[in-house]
Assembly symmetry: D3
Homo-oligomer: 323 residues x 6
């Protein structure tokens, strides 16, 4: 039986597969009988499940389990899909396909990678272009770049989130260079493409999204500069002034000391990168929250961790324009 | 004799016109004779002037004068243009054409106005479109909009600076809507066009750039909302929810309480306006400083008031790309 | 059977009425039997209730209920009043009189309103007096003014709290004008009376105390100015300078940017309003906490949300003075 | 010849007395002759002075002099009073009466002292009353209390400023106790009277207003507590709990850590004292600035050091009310 | 039967003694039977306990109990020590020896006291030496000094923690005086020994570590100065300047206003004390956290309250040096 | 004629050498004659100079000169040494020996270097020891390390200041390891020795103390890590975990984000380095200010730039102890 993702479960369907489980409880029905309830989850959503005539023994048996193998049938109850369980047990490690349980970027990482490569090819400064090629020719690096999230929780916290964010910021940079022709496009574009590469070493993302020890002790801002250092070492003609400007763009991209930048932006390109990075991160976080109607209420999102406030869902663009 | 602007004075030319005067001094030459020196200024730049055989009596006579009428001849001394004065006296009020002494935006305000009108016409929500038309149909308002600076000193501090900044931010908004299709373009564009209209009441800019009493007591953030209120009062069908969202976009566009916003951005459009406004203001301020080689030194600009730091001039984009 | 408020329940009394219910539990007695306990509440206090021989079935039946209809008898147990329940069931919507469950100001709103009207009549500036009369002649506004709380939680969070706070601050202003005769009494008194009127639009208070969407997006500081604007529009002779000073007093009354004032107090009247508003809000919040012996411990109140610290109850004034 | 204060100099009057001198300069007249100008000052104001046919020799002779003895005649020039000097020389130390050059409170210190004594007598707690009497019975302390300024520059920076501020705050406290009957009047009044007594040791005010070494190292907040300690030591029955509450009121009266309070107000009396102290200090500073038309411009005061902004002079109360 | 501390319980041993109890629960075994579990604690650690065939009746009986008397037997289960209970009941007050349940400093307080006395004797200034002797000759003070914790939770939160911290800081001061011979060793050493004596009045530590009312209202910084005041009063020749410097060292030792110092360090000795105090407090807190492997995970400690971040356990010094 | 330093000029001595010149002025003597005055400076101090019968022509001639060649004679006037000039002219570039005009550390850089080398040899971890040896074997690096200042102005702003500060901090670290044996001495000592090496690239110190472009754009914190990177690249066995810990110690040594550390200290060694670095920098800055009696007044130093306050000179240790 193939695996069905939660958001595609259909009433009447039989299931026999692994889910992430949350909110396990024994409850008492109006008729006095006791039943088990829980939420079954994967990266696409949650579905409630019930098992009749269950007791706290079941609860104890599942106490330590984060993943369960269930057999049962999808039904409709008060217009809501639920799963009526025939059996449930802790899933053995080898049956758990973590990939199904981590959120994924809605964009195709390979398409986004190609976008970045195209932009890199449009750079005219030969040193900066050679540096970017050195990164894109490194398959192991590219593998991590296309899979890593952009953050543990704040924004683009998805498999593929890093390249989604990097490519979107690069597209913004392309637009901005039209508006501000004085900006050194080569430096800005190189800065955008490399600004967060340190996250491929800062973050662990195989089982859950967390920080590595290297990430905590060094951080992606400096780690990215070290990764550039390793490439430039192989390029003896790379001009030292150009390297200092590039280091500066990376080191200052958080824009304020309190966000971990050891230097504040002091070139136009550094300043532009800071604002574009910020804009893209926040637009994604807010859009995700506004569109996630499972949290917050009808008018307001939940509190956003990155911005420490709730956002107003407002009226939809479509409705507005047709009044 | 027609008036010549400072940046067009040519050696050999006779001048008989009004200048702004700065740095008046009596100095002693190597041969012991005393002479008068000063800088003659208009909005295009400064030129040094000298008058031979002068004494402190002249200094006293000019003590209170900010504008002087001078007769003299442009000469070249050590490869630098200077004016040798035949006569100098305080300029009578009626000879002073203030226009020549205030800095002007490098953009044509009428062209920028047309840009904004075109964008306003592209808005599909009928209420927002009608509101913008009401503003653009008011000649007195348009007169102020096309002349007002965007700030006293921080950025776009020029005659025409406000419409330069508004139109540039609107162009950014147009680009951003391509990148983030979820943004309500009508609301964002209306917000951009109206976000700083309160400055037409906050700032005085006929003789110098300063704040009005209304500007100090009320401020352009709230004043802009009051100006919208005056228009909406004539539009009985304007939906109250739409008005609250528009008020919010204006009230929150400074992005932080400490910059005088009584509300923090809580819609995507408010957040986007805040970042685009900020980006445009800072890119203009930094670009102006980087290109103004009369201040700072070879590598660094002067300290920018808005960002409290110096910026690095860097290497020019052209040079970079041709190595 | 008439309704009895919680703080007037007497041992021996039969009750058959609706209560707000909290802390529902099934517990086991020493003899092994199981019983139901909960707290029954209204705006005057809480009383514990017990129902013998109950099971979790009852808990499930009441799971969603915030209001319950109970029948039972008041008894005394270990010197504490409690209700022994004969029956309990979710209360139907039509039986719930929300008024009984919202806290009320200890002051009579009509008396406080009259106080404000009297102070308004004592103002000598005809424009300011006319403005205040326009507000007090609007029955719908007065209805909201006399019912609205002054805040959701920080201070005067009661039905009638807004007018209690406004009148108390106006009385302080009256006293202060004796001490500082240079203060413009007309402007200060008008500012005090109008400073928080925006709260009648910012807050919803029919079922619980929360913010409206208008309140979140615009806020009472600016909303109050807009309400004044609507009145002044009908008063063509209102001097614009006077209006700017009044707007300033309202806009700056929070005293600091970080508390949502877009302008800092820059007139004596604005400064005085800020301090008096602050003093009255905090004295009420602290006095309420010091006198509420149901929270905190013998010597200390609970942590106050507005001041982020506990307050010391101290020794009573009476005891002090008779030693 | 008796001394005339600057604000009472009349045209035609001969003067032969000591002044504080500022802005000494040699200037050149239109006819080429050179003259000496300076400002002559005392605590009541400044008057310009001129001496004809003077040279830089005179400037050198007066280079180190802050006080000068002048002979001359008061004249009227362009409707402004000035002194035409016949002679000027550094004043010998023994001719300088510093009293004339320090600003004085507009209130009579003895009247203000009596007000405080009367309020002290109205206190009913015998310990607090005895403590205050001990202070008021100490002639040396009273001498300093009635002469000391309340601050070096921020507010009430005058001889007698401390008792002016203390008595005004005590009058506010009297009013506030009517409004908030729950406040312990004895504790609040005692706190008000004693809150700034440490300033009599913190400040030096014989020649100019500065800090003592004790003031810099210990500060008036703690110094005041030490002065209370010295009195209480003689009162063996003083209740320790009462002493801790009183210490707390003094220690916390600056209201925030950043203003040098080692404790934040945690009793109603401490909170009230903090707000009243703040209100009185700021109302005095703003009123003084608004009324001092010699600084700032027609509409705005100079920047206030204590509040870091300018204040608006506004329209006068009288004019307002008679429109 | 003598009392055994938790960290010395051995499998096979019978226990009949009092423990602090946490995490009381009734759980259901795989076979459906129900059992009681809890953690038994003293200052040396925690041990899990189980009692078979228990019901919620037991839970109710122990609901209010923090200390229990248990009888049972220590067993080994899955390589972990646990106690199988034969009986458990709330411990009567008289059986509770609080000393066993409060954490103790690993240092011998008497040895640390002797260290401080030796250092005090090495001081050459006779006034400072006499002052220290007066403290050390006061048995009641010494009793509190050797028992008091240094803080409720942040650092050295143990019985004896205050003298551990004071002596360690004094040893640092001794070392620092070698490095900076310009430092006044007498003043620094006296300041170190006395800087936290106010904690003996600020903290209560008989049953748990909390603040006294005196501690909350006055605080140890000022309280320490008051304690010195009481001694100096008996020493009529104590130079007032020396006293002000000593008061300053105590008052400023927190280094920043926001940490409750009413004065910032303005002498070398005050600055040195601040840094050494800070260094010793933080090294102890971090070392304790790094070595407490019961909290946090393999690589990281729990979040430290005092420093608001986790610390990295790193690799051990021993392993490092032998590679 | 050999050069004499300012602090060794003796009355009667003839001088013919270069000085730095400040405060050039023409003044008028009592007899009406005019003379030239200025201060002649080198790194050891300042001496006033006068030239009789001078005019503003001389001032003009010296207008651009920072260094002058003077001939003249040292005399005593009112007990103060001064130089009476026979001639003065701008010094040609080739006569200026900048070394004489930059302040120097009071310590011998070679002795301090040897101290660091000895400490480096005491490290037991072979990787860390090898890394330090690689630095000390690089003559060019050692040349810069022994000459570079530790800062432009805040502390140790002298030629040799960096190695003075580094060695003093290393000595503190040695002492601290005795007090806290849990600290990894190898890591702390390596961190201390390398923490500021980036300053050899951040600062320029040949003519005056300023920042390089590399220093502004990258900063010494990250630059130091890059210098370590260059060495470690040659050491293939260097353990990556050890390198991350070392990087962390360097990156976090400023202790707070706002001081430019991209990471906060999260190991004991990083925390200890931060405190010791801070202590040594501040003790040097304060000691220098307290001992520099040419600035400030008798009791107080000038305002210290690094600590934003004045320091009290206090009474000398010697006097204290002999009372």
């Amino acid at each position: 039986m193939p695996v069905t993702s939660v958001n595609e479960l259909k009433p009447g369907q039989e299931v026999d597969q692994v889910f992430l489980i949350r909110s396990k409880q024994i409850r008492t029905a109006r008729n006095g009988s006791r039943y088990f309830t829980a939420d079954l989850c994967d990266a696409t959503g949650n579905v409630p499940a019930r098992m009749w005539d269950a007791s706290e023994v079941l609860l104890e048996a599942l106490a330590e389990a984060n993943f369960v193998r269930v057999r049962g049938r999808v039904e409709l109850y008060r217009e809501q899909t639920q799963v009526i369980l025939a059996s449930i047990r802790p899933a053995p490690q080898e049956e758990i396909d973590l990939e199904r349980f981590l959120p994924h970027s809605p964009y195709d990482p390979q398409e986004r990678l190609q976008k970045l490569k195209d932009l890199a090819e449009s750079i005219t400064n030969p040193h900066l272009q050679a540096l970017l090629r050195a990164f894109f020719d490194d398959d192991e690096f590219v593998g991590r770049l296309t899979r890593c999230p952009a953050a543990v929780a704040y924004h683009h916290a998805t498999i593929g989130g890093l390249i989604e964010h990097t490519a979107s910021t690069a597209e913004l940079a392309e637009l901005i260079c039209q508006q501000y022709p004085q900006v050194n496009r080569d430096m800005l574009m190189t800065g955008v493409i490399l600004h967060d590469i340190g996250k491929t070493r800062e973050l662990a993302y195989e089982q859950a999204f967390t920080y590595t020890v290297h990430g905590e002790l060094v951080g992606h801002v400096v780690s990215g500069v070290l990764m550039i250092e390793d490439r430039v070492r192989e390029m003896p003609d790379f001009p030292p002034e150009l390297l200092d400007e590039l280091r500066h763009v990376i080191l200052s991209h958080h824009g304020e000391y309190e966000f971990g930048s050891p230097k504040l932006p002091m070139t136009r390109e550094a300043l532009a990168l800071h604002y574009l990075d910020n804009l893209d991160a926040k637009m994604e976080a807010v859009t995700r929250a506004v569109e996630d109607t499972s949290a917050g209420d009808e008018s307001w999102t939940e509190q956003l961790r990155m911005l420490r406030r709730r956002f107003y869902r407002g009226s939809s663009p479509a409705e507005e324009s047709t009044e």
